[in-house]
């Protein structure tokens, strides 16, 4: 793989990474990883550390402003590529976009009727647990939600098995994964506010 590197066409080359944000770079290529939904996390982390160790602007504080600015631009690019590769949802979106699937995170929602119904049920369940301040119910919902999220993730992995030809329903599957990620975020906030509430109640 490393033998395929051409300096001029390297994905982090400066033409591509100047911070106009206009050029869609490919994070898989940037980290020299195969395009696949399953990413070897320890390999990804190790490469991230190596790249930052070379390119963080802290390494250039004594080399003048120009070198420091250039390093900051590349380090920002490395951080962004890493953030995409380390996140299931963002990585899946990027894989779909590679194959020409249009993705508008603001407007797109899953078209699967069954899933839409499931979404409504989940929301109602969490809202009720929160409004009754029922910690046990929140915890139980959390465990099930984690399971549901794991199932959604498996479906995404299946739909993206062939990175060059994702299944037709891949986009819906990815949007479903996003739903669970967001709900888990909300659940985390609910847990925090319940923990705080219990604390002040105990005083």
């Amino acid at each position: 793989m490393a033998t395929g590197f051409q300096l001029s066409s390297h994905p982090f080359s400066f033409v591509a990474c100047l911070p106009t944000g206009d050029v869609m770079t490919d994070p898989f290529e940037q980290f020299d990883l195969p395009v696949a939904f399953e990413v070897d996390r320890s390999q990804l982390d190790e490469r991230f550390r190596r790249l930052q160790a070379e390119l963080h602007p802290d390494r250039f504080v004594r080399q003048g402003d120009q070198a420091r600015r250039m390093a900051a631009a590349v380090a920002a690019d490395v951080n962004e590529a890493y953030a995409i590769l380390a996140d299931d949802y963002r990585r899946a979106v990027r894989m779909l976009e590679r194959t020409g699937v249009d993705f508008d995170p603001e407007r797109d929602t899953s078209q699967d009727i069954e899933f839409i119904e499931a979404q409504i049920e989940w929301r109602e369940r969490l809202e009720e647990a929160e409004s009754t301040q029922d910690v046990a119910a929140v915890e139980a919902a959390g465990v099930e939600l984690e399971q549901a999220r794991a199932e959604a993730r498996t479906k995404v992995a299946d739909a993206l098995k062939d990175p060059e030809a994702p299944m037709a329903n891949a986009k819906d599957r990815v949007l479903e994964l996003r739903f669970f990620d967001r709900l888990l975020d909300e659940l985390k906030r609910t847990r925090q506010s319940l923990a705080r509430g219990n604390q002040s109640a105990a005083e």
Binding site: M1, A2, F5, L7, H10, F12, S13, F14, P19, T20, G21, D22, F31, D32, Q43, D45, E46, R47, F48, R49, R50, L51, Q52, A53, E54, L55, H56, P57, D58, R59, V61, R62, Q63, G64, D65, Q66, A67, M70, A71, A72, A73, V74, A75, A76, D77, N79, E80, Y82, A83, K188, R191, Q192, A195, R196, Q199, E203
Partner: protein, 627 residues
């Protein structure tokens, strides 16, 4: 002040020459400067052997005093004696209006967005007052080390937002300091204890100073220090314990209701001395002089002190619970506890912290100096004195950054805890037919509604070609550098109309204001402005020349055609010549810019190559491991 050494033309700097660097803890009540010497980081004392510099500045009509001497004026000249200025830095008129009742000096919040303090030496901003403190620390370091500092690392609270970080940087610039990096105070404390060496850990930093209490939960994961949550109380500290002891003493001595400020101050002093004595002793004698000049003699023991301090300790523990809840953690998840701040010397505080977290805290380093010491270690690495070290402190942005959208809502562009530096862009569109301008309001905070967040800046992108609503594509790019400082640019995509706006925080100072301050400031009156600019240009030229010579020596043959190399060397020689002449800062700057332009492709090729090596190096070991 020592002038820079002029090196012989073509002479390489000695390979093991140490680069002078320092760490600065710019605190609310006191400040310190530390540096690494003979491999050991320690704080530097003043001529009288005192390490702590009270963060107090006194302005007289013709003199500025900083530190202990300034603090002596607190009683007789409160309006011109500025303390706790850190509470104001990077703050707008609106924020400080709430504080002004608590502060003894006079604030002007009229015409400018940056509040000013009225003194006999003229109106002062928090940036200028902080610069006077930094200038004193710089002089102390340079007097001790015998030469100019190449750069410093300055610590800021983990929760400092963009405006407060920017203002701190401005103060450093005003004090003539080159800032390598701003790092958060709890991170510096963790570095001082070497906790960055570990693989993965969750660290609680308990910081009880004289007047403030901060609790931070840090997570170290894969070389990234992440601040999971911060909390505390900005009006809680060791001073409150002093007051509790003083009240007890007044009661014991039958002086309840005493109002004479002189006597009250003496009782407070006695209280503080007793508290400090009890760090070592189990019991300490105390004397208080009454109004009739009779003396009350008694003793204060540890158990009484614990009783008196308990309400305050309980409040800090409540804050610890709160911050753990915010981080979504149980106390058992904390692997390390670090103590910061003079008040953590009290055995009662240590016991309470140990009891709460269920593990003994790190306390081997003087808690007043630990932040400065960690900053000094990081400064030493950044200065290039430890070429073999792999340590890299990656930081995250403490608060989310976003833009105001329709209906007073916030669209987040860079969420909190994103690793920095980072560049993120998002597209927006017009909502009216024929709209030719768009107002952009930059915000920082976690709330969905604009008013609940901090307004950082507002600017307008104009010259958008008239189109139907929703047709224009305005791309807004947020760039956050390694210090957490933000730059925002906006560009209309379809017609290519561009508006690059350097965002200065609403509560920050403009470049021209800073330039004016440089001219006016007491610190630069002692140094000629032109001489200073010349020196800055010389330093930057030296940096560029040194880096370029080293790069040409190692990689010149590999990446440069003879003609390219010729062009670069030509520009370099011209710069060196201008640098040697050493008379015209503008000429040096122009020559340096030409060198930078000529070598841009060379720098880029080398950087690309380090990327290739970083990845390829790994492939080799992987290959070995896999076979």
């Amino acid at each position: 002040m020592a002038l820079l050494q002029i090196t012989e033309p073509g002479a390489e700097s000695a390979p093991h020459q140490r680069h002078l660097a320092a760490g600065i803890d710019l605190g609310t009540t006191h400040s310190l400067v530390a540096t690494v010497r003979s491999g050991e980081a320690d704080t530097l004392p003043d001529a009288e052997g005192r390490h702590i510099l009270p963060s107090v500045v006194h302005y007289a009509a013709d003199a500025v005093t900083v530190g202990h001497a300034a603090a002596e004026h607190a009683a007789d000249d409160p309006h011109n004696t500025i303390a706790s200025v850190k509470r104001l830095i990077g703050r707008g008129a609106h924020d400080v209006a709430r504080l002004s009742g608590e502060l003894p000096f006079r604030l002007k919040t009229g015409e400018s967005s940056v509040p000013r303090i009225e003194t006999v030496a003229g109106d002062k901003t928090a940036v200028e007052v902080s610069a006077d403190i930094l200038h004193t620390l710089r002089q102390r370091a340079e007097a001790t080390l015998g030469d100019e500092l190449e750069g410093v690392v300055i610590t800021v609270p983990a929760y400092f937002d963009d405006a407060q970080r920017q203002a701190t940087r401005d103060a450093a610039q005003l004090a003539g300091l080159n800032v390598f990096r701003l790092i958060s105070e709890p991170t510096a404390a963790a570095v001082a204890y070497g906790l960055d060496q570990g693989e993965e850990s969750t660290i609680a930093v308990y910081d009880l100073g004289g007047g403030t209490f901060d609790i931070s939960i840090l997570q170290l994961r894969r070389g990234v220090f992440e601040v999971l949550a911060t909390g505390g109380d900005s009006a809680l500290g060791g001073d409150d314990i002093d007051r509790a002891i003083a009240d007890w003493l007044l009661n014991q001595a039958g002086m309840a209701g005493e109002t004479d400020p002189q006597r009250l101050r003496r009782v407070l002093m006695a209280a503080r001395q007793a508290k400090e004595a009890l760090t070592e002793a189990e019991s300490t004698p105390v004397e208080v002089v009454r109004a009739d000049d009779s003396t009350w003699s008694g003793a204060l023991d540890r158990s009484t002190l614990v009783t008196l301090a308990q309400p305050l300790l309980d409040r800090t523990m409540e804050a610890c619970k709160q911050v753990l809840a915010d981080a979504g953690l149980e106390t058992g998840a904390i692997d390390e506890v670090v103590l910061v701040g003079g008040s953590t010397r009290m055995p009662a505080v240590r016991e309470a912290v140990e009891g709460f977290f269920g593990r003994a805290p790190h306390a081997g380093i003087d808690p007043d100096r630990v932040v400065a010491i960690g900053a000094a270690q990081q400064a030493d690495i950044l200065a290039g004195n430890k070429p073999d070290t792999e340590l890299l402190l990656l930081d995250v942005i403490p608060l989310s950054l976003g833009l105001e959208t329709m209906g007073g809502l916030v669209e987040f562009i860079v969420p909190r805890n994103t690793t920095i530096p980072v560049t993120r862009a998002q597209e927006f569109t017009t909502f009216k037919d024929g709209q030719t301008a768009m107002s952009l309001h930059v915000l920082q905070g976690e709330r969905d509604v604009v008013d609940a967040n901090r307004s950082l800046a507002q600017f307008t992108l104009s010259g958008i070609p008239p189109m139907v609503a929703g047709a224009a594509r305005i791309r807004v790019t947020f760039q956050v550098d390694a210090d957490g400082l933000l730059n925002v640019t906006a560009r209309e995509q379809t017609q290519g109309v561009e508006a690059h706006i350097e965002v200065k925080p609403s509560y920050g100072l403009t470049d021209s204001e800073i330039e004016q301050m440089l001219r006016d400031s007491a610190s630069s009156a002692r140094e000629d402005m032109e001489a200073r600019r010349l020196r800055e240009q010389q330093v930057e030229a030296d940096r560029v020349l040194e880096a370029l010579d080293a790069a040409l020596a190692t990689d010149g043959d590999r990446y440069l055609e003879p003609e390219e190399r010729n062009t670069i060397e030509h520009a370099r020689d011209a710069l060196r010549e201008e640098r040697e002449k050493g008379s015209d800062p503008d000429a040096i700057e122009a020559a340096r810019k030409r060198v930078e332009k000529a070598s841009e492709a060379f720098v880029a090729r080398r950087m690309n190559d380090s990327i290739r090596r970083a990845l390829a190096g790994h492939n080799v070991s992987e290959y070995d491991a896999g076979n």
